[in-house]
Symmetry: C2
Subunit: 138 residues, 2 copies
DNA sequence: AAAAGTTGATAGTGAATAATATCAGGTTTT
DNA sequence: AAAACCTGATATTATTCACTATCAACTTTT
């Protein structure tokens, strides 16, 4: 369905983002990005993914945050509110309780594919999270 | 009024927190803590301040966040909602717009003394911020 | 008057971090 | 069949980070 947006292979993506392939896989292991993966396990990235990677690099290189800090900041995204996660599901959901991992690194009980989930897709910086809070808190 | 709780001088506080006096002043310059200051400019710390310092040290030593990350995480506290900051005041307030500095490091238009403000006092970790978000988002 | 505090420098240290590189053995894509 | 990918190591690098230490000149507390 949305698969056609995932056009870049990892080598091209790394080139576009100005980093090495290894670093890209590292960001993934650290929970900062989720690529689309084909059945063959090969990764594919969209233009939006490239933007996200650049956003993360900005946080690291310009803002001087470390990866742990970025991950914990993203862990504050109120996924339960954004996805309207019902109370009984929240209770059991690691994502709701954790402040050390973003929801897409947990056992999120919302059946969505995180790659296409708005909670993952729409946030990569403190600014984007804060803006969402302003919206949600009226 | 609340001044009697600020009982420790900087040397004693550093000792209680297990760090050097210099590091304590560094945390202050970095925007992580605000000590009470007498007219003579000498700093005084409460027991709660000591706890806050230990909380910050936990984030650094155990969680491996860096100071920039902690500051930016604290910048997400929805001060405007907590203090019921009216719309016209928000507009002009740096704290409302910034995601790089906590409100107590900005020109917050709420006339409160930040040392005694709940926005400063009640939050020192991602967990405490997330818990507040849960409360405010119903 | 001595001890502890103040601001504002400057310098140094050890550990951690982000990132690159490379190897191996295998699979997928082109 | 060659190029690019995969997982999973290991090693190395340069930089940054948090922190300590020390100096100076001055002020406050005890």
């Amino acid at each position: 369905m949305v698969q056609q947006e995932y056009i870049h292979k990892i080598g091209k993506t790394a080139e576009l983002a100005g980093i090495s392939v290894h670093t890209l896989r590292m960001y993934e292991k650290e929970g900062l990005i989720i690529p689309f993966q084909k059945e063959s396990k090969q990764r594919r990235y969209s233009e939006k993914d490239v933007e996200r990677i650049l956003c993360i690099r900005k946080a690291i290189n310009d803002d001087k945050m470390n990866i742990e800090g970025i991950r914990r900041l993203l862990s504050l995204i109120p996924c339960w509110k954004i996805t309207d996660c019902p109370e009984n599901r929240r209770k059991k959901c690691e994502a709701f309780h954790s402040s050390s991992k973003p929801c897409w690194q947990t056992d999120c009980k919302n059946g969505n594919d995180c790659v296409n989930c708005t909670v993952y897709r729409d946030f990569c910086s403190g600014e984007s999270v804060k803006n969402k809070l302003k919206e949600l808190l009226e």
